[in-house]
């Protein structure tokens, strides 16, 4: 008999031959980009909100589209507060893409080629959708 999870943070090594402790350890690999994206974007958004509150912009640059945003970024036209808000939102919406990338790496480490293919397919479709939307 194998060992079942005894606490919520246990790496379970169970009877099921397909559900190994190694596989469950890889759950944490996929969690890392999510955690980094979450904390980084929360910090940027909070910093941006504080700066916008302390130094309200003379004219708000709300609702920039991607082209305007990139243009403003290159020319450093955005006030720091608003720049941080946009950076935080960009970081947040990019996090799931990074997560799919992490899943590809995890499945490669597990040599699970079927799921390497599945996750690459999701990654490619997602990137294509993003590239098309930005044009």
């Amino acid at each position: 008999m194998g060992v079942h999870c005894r606490t919520s943070r246990d790496v379970c090594s169970i009877d099921n031959p397909f559900m190994t402790g190694r596989r469950q350890n890889h759950d944490r690999w996929v969690a890392w980009p999510l955690k980094i994206g979450m904390w980084l974007s929360a910090g940027l958004l909070l910093g941006g909100m504080v700066l916008v509150f302390v130094h309200p912009p003379e004219s708000s640059s709300s609702n920039l589209n991607t082209a305007d945003f990139l243009d403003a970024l290159v020319q450093l036209r955005l006030p720091l507060g608003e720049g941080l808000l946009y950076a935080g939102i960009m970081m947040l919406i990019s996090t799931p893409v990074l997560r799919v990338g992490a899943a590809v790496v995890t499945f490669i480490a597990e040599r699970d080629w079927k799921f390497v293919g599945v996750s690459i397919a999701v990654f490619v479709v997602l990137l294509l959708e993003i590239i098309l939307s930005l044009q």
Binding site: T66, I89, I93, T95, R99, S133
Partner: protein, 271 residues
């Protein structure tokens, strides 16, 4: 900090709590709040809601992955059909009568709620025996019952078809697909409700990400609205995930049924 920012953060906390708890993302709660309470234009409300879904998904998935609640393989497989459905949704949107579709799905949700209500306790302790589909087998520790839950996943084909429809519908009706995916995983594939909501949380961020870039590219994303809402959602998601750990699966199922019925009424009246 303006009153509106505080209200946005409060709305975000409520949406994040229920979104993370039920694997829905929170759009069902946040969009009516933004439109009806704060008079935010619909396009901006949907764009903010999509950012909120990503915030819920990222926080919820990060916390659930640490505790092995997410079935990554099942989630990745269902994502392929959800993304295909979302693309098809964009293509078929102009061919279908949105009002009729909204009513049909409203009635469908009421039916799903009834099915969930009459479904008995699932036998989740089936032992894995090495079949092809047991590549999706999972195990997690349930804090509410202080026991380990081992489960296998069945009938993946029909659940993939429903995920395709969920992707399609989320594009057509501005709904998160979680409201269809969680019952499909639970009722058809016999995934325990806690693992189903955790796996749904994991998936919805990816579907939402593509939509978020589209709304950003079109200039609908207002950072002054999205930022406080997203911060509220991030905080609310922490509460939602912690709540999901201590709630018993039956209680979680009944909360889900109530939200299904409320969404069903909302859709039918909207149509």
């Amino acid at each position: 900090m303006s009153v509106d920012s505080l209200l946005l953060a409060f709305g975000g906390i409520v949406a994040g709590t229920f979104g993370a708890l039920l694997g829905l993302g929170g759009g069902v709660f946040l969009i009516p709040f933004l439109v009806l309470v704060l008079n935010v234009p619909m396009h901006q409300a949907i764009a903010t809601s999509i950012v909120a879904v990503i915030a819920t998904s990222s926080t919820g998935a990060a916390m659930n992955l640490e505790r092995h609640m997410v079935n990554i393989r099942l989630g990745m497989l269902l994502e392929t059909t959800t993304v295909a459905g979302a693309i098809a949704g964009g293509l078929t949107a102009s061919m279908l009568d949105a009002a009729v579709l909204t009513k049909v799905f409203g009635i469908l949700l009421a039916g799903i709620a009834a099915m969930m209500a009459v479904s008995g306790k699932l036998n989740t302790m089936d032992r894995a025996t090495g079949g092809e589909k047991e590549v999706f087998a999972g195990e997690y520790y349930d804090d509410a019952t202080k026991s380990s839950v081992l489960y296998t996943v069945r009938n993946i084909g029909p659940t993939m078809i429903i995920s395709l429809l969920a992707g399609n519908i989320s594009g057509l009706l501005g709904l998160g697909g979680g409201i269809f995916k969680v019952p499909a995983m639970h009722l058809i594939s016999r995934v325990p409700i806690k693992a189903a909501t955790a796996t749904s949380n994991f998936m919805i961020g990816v579907t939402a990400a593509a939509g978020a870039f589209i709304y950003f590219a079109e200039g609908h994303l207002d950072p002054h609205i999205a930022a406080p809402a997203a911060l509220g959602v991030l905080l609310g998601s922490f509460f939602g995930i912690r709540l999901s750990r201590i709630l018993k699966a039956d209680v979680l199922k009944w909360v889900f049924i109530v939200v299904l019925l409320a969404t069903s009424v909302q859709l039918i009246t909207r149509s």
